[in-house]
């Protein structure tokens, strides 16, 4: 039971990190792109213009947010290799 719970937690943590992580704005932006795509599916010209623009704007805005968010961890390696016996390898990117 404990193993199942631990596995479920690790599974949830993986998806949380994968989908949201430190860029929740990108997750929200993609949800918005999907919603707009569904809304504009009968208005092809509008969709063809709006969807790429939304995607590009969200990328640029998120990059700007990354620039403004202040200094990050000094060096990735410090947080990267996990302990050999537990935790993980921190292999996020």
């Amino acid at each position: 039971m404990r193993t199942v719970r631990r596995g479920a937690r690790a599974f949830g943590a993986f998806w949380w990190d994968f989908l949201i992580g430190d860029t929740p704005e990108l997750f929200v932006a993609v949800l918005a792109v999907v919603a707009v795509a569904l809304l504009l599916r009968h208005h092809h010209l509008a969709a063809v213009i709006v969807l790429p623009v939304m995607t590009v704007v969200s990328l640029v805005a998120s990059s700007l947010r990354g620039r403004r968010s202040g200094p990050r961890a000094p060096a990735e390696p410090a947080a990267d290799p996990g302990p050999p016996s537990a935790g993980g390898t921190g292999a996020s990117d």
Binding site: A37, P77, P84
Partner: protein, 267 residues
């Protein structure tokens, strides 16, 4: 599906797999050098087998049982999330606002940690620490590759080609790693990651639209057009952020001869 999008699919999967396997190789080599090669290689091989099983177990049912339009919207959204995150990271690194992934430092830190582990490596039999580190390294790095393989492969009904491209990249990295007998710190990871991010975003946007019922002009030819669009936007954003100045440059790591300066010396 025309040949152009198949080529882009193969390039995207091959590039993603190369980047992730280079990172995994660092951990496998660290475990092999410090604890013994046999257990490290067994751990890496076991992870590859599990990842292969995942591709078949998840990918095949997706192709056969999920309606193609639903699959394309979901897969497109996943690819967009992953692609945008990779591109953002690549932009910040290329702009000098985020430290580059330093395989040398990761190797040194992991080796030091493993060498200092109180559980001594057994003279015979399997070293569980080396096995676990190599397994986790390959499995965790490979999970993103599996997602990309399953997503791109299932949405285009090209699961075999996508899996073959990922396998070829993993094999190439393993062979090169074996030949040079060390981690591959000179691989231009950020450049590859940028290219793959551009491709993932292009496929993601294309599939979200297609799945929702939007008809892109030129059908599949929209994919290379998106590749061009994202490439131009990425390059422009990097130039812009560099010109805007380092408002949040991270403190540099310990400088070593031959170590690229964060964000600049991408080989």
């Amino acid at each position: 599906m025309n040949p152009t999008s198949t080529v882009v699919l193969v390039l995207a999967v091959f590039g993603a797999s190369t980047v992730e396997m280079v990172e995994a190789l660092t951990l496998v080599v660290a475990a092999g050098v410090t604890r013994g090669w046999r257990s490290a290689l067994e751990g890496a091989a076991a992870a590859v087998v599990v990842l292969g099983v995942l591709v078949v177990a998840v990918g095949a049912p997706l192709i056969h049982y999920v309606p193609i339009d639903t699959l394309r919207v979901v897969v497109g959204a996943l690819l967009l999330v992953l692609g945008l995150a990779w591109l953002r990271k690549a932009i910040l690194r290329a702009s000098g606002l985020k430290a580059l992934h330093d395989e040398d430092a990761i190797f040194a830190a992991t080796s030091a940690e493993l060498a200092g582990d109180p559980a001594a490596a057994p003279a015979r039999g399997r070293d569980s620490v080396a096995f676990a580190v190599a397994f986790k390294g390959v499995f965790l790095e490979g999970t993103e590759v599996v997602l990309i393989v399953v997503s791109l492969g299932a949405s285009q009904h090209r699961l075999g080609i996508a899996a073959a491209a990922a396998g070829a990249a993993a094999l190439m990295v393993a062979v090169v790693g074996a030949v040079v007998a060390r981690q591959l710190s000179r691989v231009p990871e950020n450049s590859i990651k940028t290219v793959v991010g551009v491709m993932l975003c292009s496929f993601g946007l294309f599939w979200v639209g297609e799945g929702a019922g939007v008809h892109w002009p030129g059908s599949d030819l929209a994919i290379p057009a998106f590749v061009g669009l994202f490439a131009v936007v990425t390059a422009a954003t990097v130039v812009w952020l560099r010109a805007a100045g380092p408002s949040s440059v991270p403190a540099p790591g310990p400088a070593r001869p031959g170590t690229p300066t964060p964000g600049r010396a991408v080989p």
